[in-house]
């Protein structure tokens, strides 16, 4: 423990409800240990607000160990804050200097509407998953492990893609609020494995159609998503989705599903 503490000025987006107007409010965060995580810092600020009889800042979180994908806000213009491949819950206050002003905003996208303060509704991502982010198998005994050989390199790439925790930072970072990095990671984790191939064409089209229907923007290859993704998901997954789309659109009998 370093025992060092810092004082910060926070500008936090406060919005009482989905329809209500919101604005940035200024708060002081005092005597924050540099060993605290960003969310712990918010906890401390919220404790103060509660004692003052004010409404604490609503923010999403769950595991606080960088694996669940629940946390995430835009800190000084950067989703999950300034550290590479770090979720907000794993971001520590030692990356801030005494006296810093920190602006905290919710992820901004038409498809991810604000529920309250820093909390956004990410059900659009679930809808994309539900559209095709699975493989259809009959239940029963686990098959013999070596009956479906998986090349190591493919397994590694699938594992890298599956590291996506569905936090939505890629959308928040994208100047077009496109969900291509998320969707491509989810398509890739199946497309790379033999188990995912039989439904690959149907899956790619279904997830794409759902993604478009949710109102995300169109990818224009700014690469901001890759830079801000806490799991380091590569945009080569987006290229893979683009290839899967060509195969599905022009090389398979699958139709683009109609999303109501």
């Amino acid at each position: 423990m370093s025992g060092k503490t810092i004082n910060l000025t926070l500008k936090v987006w406060r919005q009482p409800g989905a329809k209500a107007p919101g604005r940035l409010e200024t708060y002081r965060a005092e005597n924050i240990s540099t060993d605290a995580s960003f969310l712990e810092m918010l906890d401390i600020v919220n404790e103060g607000l509660t004692l003052e009889g004010k409404e604490p800042v609503a923010f999403d979180h769950d595991c606080r160990e960088g694996i669940c994908g629940m946390c995430g806000s835009v800190v000084n213009g950067r989703p999950h804050g300034p550290e590479r491949e770090t979720t907000l819950c794993q971001l520590h206050m030692r990356h801030f200097a005494d006296g810093d002003t920190v602006v905290i905003e919710p992820f901004r996208a038409r498809a991810l509407p604000v529920v309250k303060d820093l909390v956004v509704d990410r059900s659009a991502l679930d809808q994309v998953m539900a559209a095709g982010g699975f493989i259809s198998v009959n239940t029963g005994q686990a098959p013999e492990a070596n009956s479906l050989p998986v090349p190591k390199d493919k397994a590694d790439l699938a594992m890298d893609a599956a590291a996506c925790i569905g936090c939505g930072a890629c959308i928040a970072a994208c100047p077009n609020a496109s969900a291509m990095l998320f969707t491509s990671a989810k398509v890739s984790q199946f497309a790379l494995l033999p188990h995912g191939r039989p439904e690959a064409a149907r899956r790619a089209l279904a997830m794409l159609a759902q993604m478009d229907a949710c109102g995300f923007g169109n990818c224009t290859n700014h690469q901001e998503c890759e830079v801000e993704c806490p799991k380091g998901i590569s945009i080569s997954n987006i290229a893979r989705l683009n290839r899967e789309f060509i195969k599905a659109a022009l090389g398979s009998a699958e139709e683009l599903p109609v999303i109501k």
Partner: protein, 216 residues
């Protein structure tokens, strides 16, 4: 055939049409530059190149029609994508500095450089195209000398070339990525090629009026 329309009205479909038409323009830029470099063989070589090109007749018309169709597709989709993307984030960030460093000046300005290029194409065609400018009494070299002697046109041309270079710097690698051609071995090369190609466009085309005026 409605399935084709439906496929290409998806976000990826639209982007891929942008990419393929964009790649076509890159091919055109390459041939256009290679041909025009004939100026370095002197004005007779330049004029001979133009005459050979026009002698292609129907083939040239097919190429021109192809480019016009590609341009219509590219521009129409650009407009659609631009407005769709603007709508996708109704509330902007208070702090929007994109500190991550993914974006480049080129990628950021694509819609605007695109619009400028469209304007430049109009000016360029009205001053040079054999469909618009009578080339029976003057040859292409004489026309070019006349055009570039006017400071305003020279400035517009040089600026146009620069804008094209910036558009191409993001467009080239972006087109490869969009059609799915991202490979760990080739992508670093393609990304560098984007920059090299942009520099070649800027210097290659940018030097032409200077060479023409020097040969005057």
């Amino acid at each position: 055939m409605t399935w084709v329309l439906r496929m290409f009205s998806t976000s990826i479909g639209k982007k891929q049409l942008m990419a393929v038409t964009g790649l076509l323009f890159l091919l055109f830029l390459t041939t256009h530059l290679l041909g025009n470099l004939s100026i370095y063989g002197g004005s007779p070589a330049f004029v001979a190149y133009a005459e050979h090109l026009h002698a292609l007749g129907k083939l040239l018309v097919v190429a021109e029609v192809g480019l016009v169709v590609a341009l219509i597709i590219h521009v129409t989709l650009a407009v659609i994508l631009f407005f769709e993307n603007r709508r996708s984030r109704p509330v902007k960030y208070a702090v929007d500095k994109s500190g991550g460093g993914g974006r480049t000046f080129s990628s950021r300005t694509m819609p605007y450089t695109g619009l400028l290029i469209l304007g430049f194409i109009v000016v360029h065609l009205t001053t040079f195209s054999h469909h618009i400018v009578d080339q029976t009494t003057r040859n292409i070299f004489q026309i070019a000398v006349a055009v570039f002697s006017q400071k305003l046109y020279l400035a517009i041309y040089l600026l146009g070339v620069l804008v094209v270079a910036f558009h191409v710097r993001h467009g080239l690698w972006s087109a490869f990525q969009t059609v799915g051609a991202n490979h760990p071995k080739y992508m670093p090369f393609i990304q560098k090629l984007s920059i090299v190609f942009a520099v070649i466009v800027a210097i290659g085309f940018g030097s032409l009026p200077l060479a023409i005026l020097a040969l005057r």
